[in-house]
């Protein structure tokens, strides 16, 4: 599939939420040493992240974002036709977390709900799926939830991941609107990158054993088990250089835009070094590359909407912005969309306290 253009879909709003618990990179100095922490922090552009409370799931954070968004939009709960939950840290092996959230958000039992197992590319794929449901699937209103609690799958002793990932959850509301401007999507997959970003054991290909759960030290001192996230930074960087510049060129061409016509480039917040390198290669004007890593880290499929909430909300509440959103990484999977969004409902980033675990919307919404 090359470019896919969707017309008749409007983004009504975006809300992002993070656990109300800060963890600074400095707090890892005891494990990795101050010098290493500073070097890594400077490279990835992260100073702190928001980390889930014990027992808090991605669903709780997404719930907070969705509940806030639906209230701010004044959308009656029964008007939501479909609910999509994009995450690689669902509540259970089964049932789908979106089913649980249908109940918690008091959506209609006539709502179609399902999960999508993607990470870095997840928000773009989610927008594409939601748009397709609105154009061809008989839906009039769709809520897309994206997020991860990656902190649960990272070994705190692994310097390549322990300092990078943060937790977050977001909600994007989309609706059918004949007057909306078109969106151009480009999507792709390369499964040969499977081993570059993987939790190797714990499900069915490599079931859990005492051995898979045992952390083993590497040459550089980092320590992880087969049930912890493994990330090969160099391979992922090389993949990004191979695919992403061409991806952005393709989506701009699909939209018929040239680079100077774009108001904001919001890329998956993988790491600052990589984003700045991409911006240089693509010759993006510096102020148009959106960065939100310093206080959130890499939040997986939440990172694009979270960056929009944290950095573009004041503008998106009142203006229409030509935006290029792109997500790329785990899979390998990638996608980009060129769209004009705003004005739309954009609450400030929601902070989720420990009491919100398992929360349910009050009756009568």
């Amino acid at each position: 599939m090359a470019t896919c253009t969707v017309s008749g879909v409007r983004l009504a709003g975006i809300a992002s939420a993070v656990p109300d618990r800060v963890q600074t990179l400095a707090s890892h100095a005891a494990v990795f040493g101050e010098a290493d922490v500073r070097k890594i922090s400077d490279s990835i552009g992260v100073k702190s992240r928001q980390i889930a409370f014990d027992g808090m799931c991605t669903s709780d954070i997404c719930f907070a974002a969705a509940d806030r968004l639906l209230n701010d939009l004044a959308w009656p709960r029964e008007s939501v036709d479909a609910l999509i939950f994009v995450s690689q840290t669902p509540d259970y092996v089964l049932p789908a977390t979106s089913c649980c959230l249908q109940e918690r958000l008091r959506l209609s039992t006539r709502c179609a709900a399902f999960d999508v197992g993607l990470g870095c590319s997840g928000h773009i794929y989610g927008l594409w799926i939601a748009s397709s449901l609105l154009v061809g699937g008989g839906a009039r209103r769709v809520v897309l939830l994206t997020g991860d609690t990656s902190s649960y799958i990272c070994s705190p002793l692994d310097r390549s991941v322990a300092l990078l990932f943060g937790d977050a959850g977001t909600a994007t509301a989309l609706e059918a609107d004949g007057s909306a401007s078109p969106m151009a999507f480009v999507l792709g997959t390369d499964g040969s990158g499977r081993d570059a970003l993987i939790v190797p054991a714990g499900r069915y290909r490599n079931p859990h054993t005492a051995e898979t759960a045992t952390r083993i030290a590497e040459d550089n001192g980092s320590s992880r088990s087969a049930e912890d996230l493994f990330m090969d930074g160099a391979e992922i960087f090389a993949f990004t250089l191979r695919e992403v510049p061409a991806l952005i060129q393709a989506v701009l061409q699909g939209a018929g835009w040239n680079i100077d016509e774009v108001d904001a480039f919001v890329f998956h917040q993988a790491n600052q070094f990589m984003l700045q390198h991409l911006a240089r290669r693509l010759k993006l004007p510096k102020d148009k590359l959106i960065l939100a890593m310093e206080e959130f880290g890499n939040t997986g499929s939440a990172s694009v909407p979270l960056a929009m909430s944290a950095r573009l909300a004041p503008r998106l509440r009142t203006e229409a912005l030509r935006s290029v959103l792109a997500g790329f990484g785990v899979g390998y999977s990638w996608g980009a969309v060129a769209l004009t969004c705003g004005p739309m409902v954009m609450p400030d980033v929601v902070k989720v306290s420990g009491e919100m675990v398992g929360a349910v919307s009050p009756e009568g919404r």
């Binding site: 070097k39 890594i40 490279s43 390549s160 550089n220 090969d232 930074g233 160099a234 391979e235 960087f237 090389a238 250089l241 191979r242 070094f273 990589m274 390198h277 240089r280 290669r281």
Partner: protein, 78 residues
């Protein structure tokens, strides 16, 4: 295209080594500063300056600075 000396200067910067300290034959696993961040910085530098994507697998197989230079082929003037 760059000269071998220019490449060594770029590598010195990545490794935070003193300018002129690299001779070009050093084994990599003894080189101070040669870590995963340095590998990523090297890939970025080669991409930007030589418009070439180095393979991480080939970098991992390289034993010395000379081996790395070998990966760049005719992009390095002698």
């Amino acid at each position: 295209m760059m000269t071998k000396r220019e490449f060594l200067s770029e590598l010195e910067e990545i490794l935070e080594a003193d300018p002129g300290s690299l001779k070009g034959n050093e084994p990599l696993n003894g080189l101070e500063g040669w870590d995963s961040l340095a590998v990523v910085s090297l890939i970025a530098m080669v991409d930007e300056q030589l418009d070439m994507t180095l393979s991480p697998k080939k970098i991992a197989k390289a034993g010395s600075v000379a081996d790395i230079i070998g990966l760049l082929g005719d992009k390095i003037a002698p």
